[in-house]
Symmetry: C2
Subunit: 138 residues, 2 copies
DNA sequence: TCCTAATTGCAACTGAGCTGCATTTAGCAC
DNA sequence: GTGCTAAATGCAGCTCAGTTGCAATTAGGA
């Protein structure tokens, strides 16, 4: 289990319960963003069945603490990935098979300044997702 | 009513029914992306009440024909805007009041080539959305 | 060990969006 | 204009993601 996450939880006055520990292990072991339902399913397969509501509540809490990233690929459900030790990045998803690949790049920083000047918004975040056809499906 | 839309519908063998005409008028008169529920509500206020299902089905069809653009701001529902006569563009939304502003820029073309080379995907589209605080709410 | 705030599980709910089916309608051929 | 047929509509009921209220449980500091 990643130390920095445990510390952040402690600092925020959060308890390290069994369900929470099991959920964090699933999240950390997932190489790509994962849905709440998938987390729930994997927990059921293992011997750590926890309620789906608990999954949702924990994901929301972890997101609020900035420990997990929501990834919205417009599939009708959200995905989540742990932030720890990962560069800020984006995703590309295949229209055919749903395959998701990380993109280790983000050219948006300069653009953000431009948009802030243009709109007078204080920009807090951005989302950049590509869709297309993967080598198998194209 | 925009001619090019009517032509596209005819070419695709789609009928120009009263509900469809009313929906198109609402869409065309909306300066910013609008949700299905909002379309439905405006139609009810006017004298052209149509079923919410009809709204969904028409939006899906128009999207398939490439006549409207889906805008996913992760609000828990989709928004739609007519493409006709509009530059390809992106959006910024205020976390406070939900205000949406068009951004008349898209620096993603060069990036797309890079991502295609890097991932071997055939890229079909991309989504770029900013969130932040508008001048009133910041 | 005790205590309390945090957390959990359950059940019931909300809200977006979809499906099946019988009925209606646009728009073409005559 | 009339008749015809495929397309479109409205209704009812459904699915699926995610949330809420509440009583019961638990982590972890005093």
């Amino acid at each position: 289990m990643v130390e920095s996450i445990l510390e952040s939880l402690k600092t925020a006055g959060k308890k390290l319960t069994k369900p929470r520990k099991a959920l964090l292990e699933i999240l950390e072991s997932s190489p790509l963003p994962i849905t709440a339902a998938e987390v729930y399913a994997r927990l059921r397969k293992g011997r750590h069945a926890i309620d789906l509501v608990t999954v949702y509540r924990n994901l929301a809490m972890l997101q609020e603490l900035g420990l997990v990233n929501p990834v919205g690929l417009h599939e009708g459900q959200m995905r989540y990935e742990v932030c720890h030790g990962r560069e800020h990045h984006h995703h590309i998803q295949c229209r055919g098979c749903g395959l998701i690949v990380d993109l280790l790049l983000c050219p948006i920083k300069k653009l953000t300044d431009l948009v802030e000047r243009q709109t007078k918004f204080a920009i807090e975040g951005h989302a950049l997702e590509f869709v297309g056809w993967c080598p198998q499906c194209r």
